[in-house]
Subunit: 198 residues, 2 copies
């Protein structure tokens, strides 16, 4: 990999994203995240003076951005190849993580905040979902798919993959993701006219 | 409704399912659940001597069973009508819950347990997903869909609806569920030969 060494701050954010994907929002504390990232607690509070809400929002933006970058790269070869890479990424995450790792973006979307105020992490989650959908929809439109169908297929793809990852964790099997993979591939091939061999 | 008045024990289980769907597993405590269900803490421990793990597993079985019963009823009119009822149920839950309520089965599937042992709630979640998929697949097979395609479409339906509910919460909009609705309806109509007017 040609990526440069992450800064201590980035390591904490990446660690928080990993913890969110494993344990969810409520079980992810500043203290545990610092420990998980091998960072001193003091420096963690230094980087994130607003505490957990700030760290969680940054972790969701980080995770959402990583997936978006991977998706954007993969979509350069068209929507069908992009879908394949997106699904392979998730399959690797759940299998390598022994069915204990999922999506940090989904995790913050399903836990109601304690207070009445809408947390920044939830806005970051909405933005991540929007971005993934937009990337997929744009690629589909560029490959002969009418706009409304492209938008619906993009939403279906993101929703089905997010749901399947959670099902795979409970079922300790990639069967749900494999089934979603087969159906989405067939749909995208038909929509883009890439044919069954896609 | 002709349903009989729930017992105090059932009220606690239903309250726990509601809390899991709102806040997730880690924020659902025995104490909060008792308060939420208006039950004395002592009687809650009396009904659930093994504590939170036992209550969470029963809440997931309760929620999974409720969805399965509704789905089974709706599928008597065929898979397309069944899909419509399933989606309407979820649309009502998220809109009536002001985008703060989701699926308790998904919630327990995405939070890694603290200890090494696999929690009973996770087994209950796997069983709920399996049951919903089986009901949909059986209905599709009974309506001219080949077995492999029926199984894949059932998995896609459950995964896409679960994912879309989470997206709707973050996006404070039913758009993702509406898109999934349109695409799944088209797919199921084609698979069963019910035609575009289905």
């Amino acid at each position: 990999m040609s990526e440069k060494e992450p800064s201590p701050r980035e390591k904490i954010v990446a660690g928080a994203a990993d913890m969110l994907g494993r344990r969810g929002l409520n079980a992810t504390s500043i203290r545990e995240t610092a420990k998980h990232a091998g960072a001193p607690l003091g420096s963690t509070y230094h980087y994130f003076p607003d505490g957990k809400a700030q760290l969680a929002a940054e972790a969701v933006r980080y995770a959402g951005g990583r997936v978006a970058a991977g998706l954007e790269r993969a979509l350069r070869q068209g929507p069908v190849a992009g879908l394949g890479a997106y699904l392979d990424l998730w399959r690797t995450i759940i299998v390598d993580g022994d069915y204990r790792v999922g999506c940090p973006v989904l995790a913050v979307a399903i836990e109601e905040p304690g207070s009445g105020e809408r947390p920044a992490a939830l806005d970051a989650a909405a933005e991540a979902f929007d971005t993934w959908q937009s990337l997929l929809a744009a690629s589909l439109r560029e490959h002969r798919t009418p706009p409304e169908q492209a938008a619906q297929l993009a939403a279906l793809t993101v929703a089905a993959v997010e749901g399947a990852v959670a099902m795979c964790r409970a079922q300790r099997s990639t069967a749900a993701l494999d089934a979603v993979d087969a159906q989405l591939h067939a749909l995208l091939r038909t929509a883009t006219g890439e044919g069954a061999a896609g």
